[in-house]
Assembly symmetry: C2
Homo-oligomer: 358 residues x 2
């Protein structure tokens, strides 16, 4: 009887402790925090500015196409800052509080003593000034995104999904999307982020989804990018001229997936730094008609071909499919999923292995 | 000779100390920080969602018109959080790092132990999902804003202006603007901010410029708004039916300034809380053809009429024209001007007087 009570107490403690640890975090001690615009373009209208007709554009300027960065540097910080770039339809919110109110990678990696820079890419969020015009229409598409981002096949959640199943969390998830204020342009984005690295010095670039493309380009443009971590990149895998693999057919709603050819001299720059790519769960192993699972199958397959190509050229790319290392149920947003501490642990482990957490 | 050297040393210390204090701040100790969407609307397309035609809108939802909030709560925080709402063409960046890289009100009031909530209003910045469509065109208008916001009469800076005169700072100032992603709607904005107060409880609302209108409306909608602080509000002064003053003519580029009539029962709610309104410098005392100085003359005059009306009804509104209390050269953005510590000191003093800093 006494042994059983002791067992029960131990069991209760084991259940209770992580919850308590989550709720009762230590304060964040921030040496410095702030924000700025970086990079961008400037256009000047012809003519000269007339103070008495100041609503006429003649001679006036328009600054746009910059990124917006919010940064925090903890006390006794590690050497390399982590620079976070969101994906399509998202902003820096991606890395902040999760849809169900837990800490995202922003706080998690501040607690792990990394300086953290969160970006709104050019023409998005608080970096909204775009040198090209845009029309924004409210488009009812959230059930598509629920499915595309592998929370489930709407209205069904995947049984093991690492996404909270309450309505309030899903609403927060839908509301964290925010539109382009000008056409997506990977070159404009990587120009601005390259300027960021010129300003802050060497660091590690962490991208999500569509951010993957500008991520590779930034690393090619600027050798201050000491490593790239990409969560679920899809398009924009870059191959040397003459080594482009055949397109991968897919039942995904965006059709077949193609690589992009670039000069070998540019490609080689990606062989100089360690790169890790993560994919979540509910991605098909073999071709299937279930379009979301098949879309990401093509992405994962292309990532593996790309990694093999880079590594053949002397590079260091690792592709980690999370279910293969025992992590089940991750969506397209592993860093905000229910198990995001474990997802962060994987990243910490990789950074340590590569000597990037000094 | 010895006395003179001592005097010189004292003088050097006096000059050197504030600079050093600015550069070598203590770390911020943050008990909690995070972000969320709040308020907003939800629309559902008729029909039913078809997983196999997931790019068709039928049966899909669109969430929009919410505000985005980033909050930080320092350790041993004071009771009332400060909720900051930006003005036209701005985002929460308004309250962050100043154009020349000093700390803005976000950090200044965290250091003074207030919980700080920074908002992107509905249809702006990271709260970009709008239920109404918008077209955004790059418009060369920055020399207009330089002048309208009383940095000077472009290209001249006002001689005493509290704005840095280097090119990099001005570029940062231009780049912190960000466009509407849907039409400005004071009712949508105040609905979202009222929901914020329902979520976080009693607090103090601090508005800038165009944010003034939604600020008053939020205070009418929600009695958890315990005070309103408005920096340079212009339009949307609310008067009880039958007490509307005549419009104030102005050489400003937006023409004459009118008040807005509201039911007395709504107006009376604004008499229940303390309100303070601040205006900067280089505002004309009497009508003038210099349009920026005259624009803000009409705003300041209307604010004084409004304060008198509220106070006649038993309210507590103070209008502070900063030059009248010895603070010279402030622009339309006093909280990020070169003397923003002194501007913050004024606010701290007022909050203390009203018992709002417990």
């Amino acid at each position: 009887m006494k042994i059983q009570t002791g067992y029960l107490l131990t069991l209760l403690l084991v259940i209770w402790m992580p919850v308590n640890a989550q709720n009762k975090q230590k304060p964040l001690v921030i040496e410095q925090q702030g924000s700025f615009a970086v990079g961008g373009t400037k256009a000047t209208e012809s003519g000269s500015f007339d103070l008495d007709s100041a609503l006429k554009p003649q001679g006036q300027t328009f600054h746009g196409d910059h990124a917006y960065a919010f940064y925090q540097i903890p006390v006794k910080a590690r050497k390399y800052p982590l620079v976070f770039l969101h994906g399509a339809g998202q902003s820096k919110k991606t890395w902040e509080t999760t849809p169900d109110g837990r800490e995202g990678f922003q706080n998690i990696f501040l607690r792990r003593k990394f300086p953290v820079y969160l970006l709104d890419q050019p023409r998005r969020g608080e970096a909204g000034k775009s040198s090209v015009a845009a029309t924004i229409n409210p488009t009812a598409d959230e059930q598509f995104w629920f499915t595309q981002f592998r929370i489930g096949n709407y209205p069904e959640y995947f049984p093991d999904v690492q996404f909270p199943k309450d309505a309030a969390s899903l609403e927060q998830f839908y509301r964290q999307m925010t539109p382009n204020t000008g056409a997506f342009d990977g070159n404009v984005i990587s120009d601005a982020i390259s300027q960021l690295f010129n300003k802050i010095g060497e660091g590690i670039l962490i991208t999500h989804s569509q951010g993957g493309g500008p991520g590779w380009s930034t690393a090619i443009k600027n050798d201050k990018v000491k490593a790239v971590v990409a969560y679920e990149p899809y398009s924009s895998f870059l191959f040397p001229e003459g080594e482009l693999p055949p397109p991968i057919k897919s039942a995904g709603l965006f059709g077949e997936l193609k690589g992009t050819e670039i000069p070998l001299s540019d490609f080689n720059k990606l062989t100089k730094i360690p790169i890790v790519i993560y994919y979540g769960d509910n991605i098909a192993k073999d071709p299937t008609k279930i379009w979301n699972k098949d879309h990401w199958r093509s992405g994962l397959e292309m990532a593996k071909i790309w990694a093999a190509t880079i590594n053949k050229h002397g590079g260091d790319v690792t592709v980690i499919h999370l279910p293969e290392i025992g992590m089940k149920g991750n969506t397209h947003f592993p860093f905000s999923d229910l198990n995001n501490i474990q997802v962060a642990d994987q990243l910490s482990k990789w950074l340590k292995e590569k000597g990037l957490d000094k």
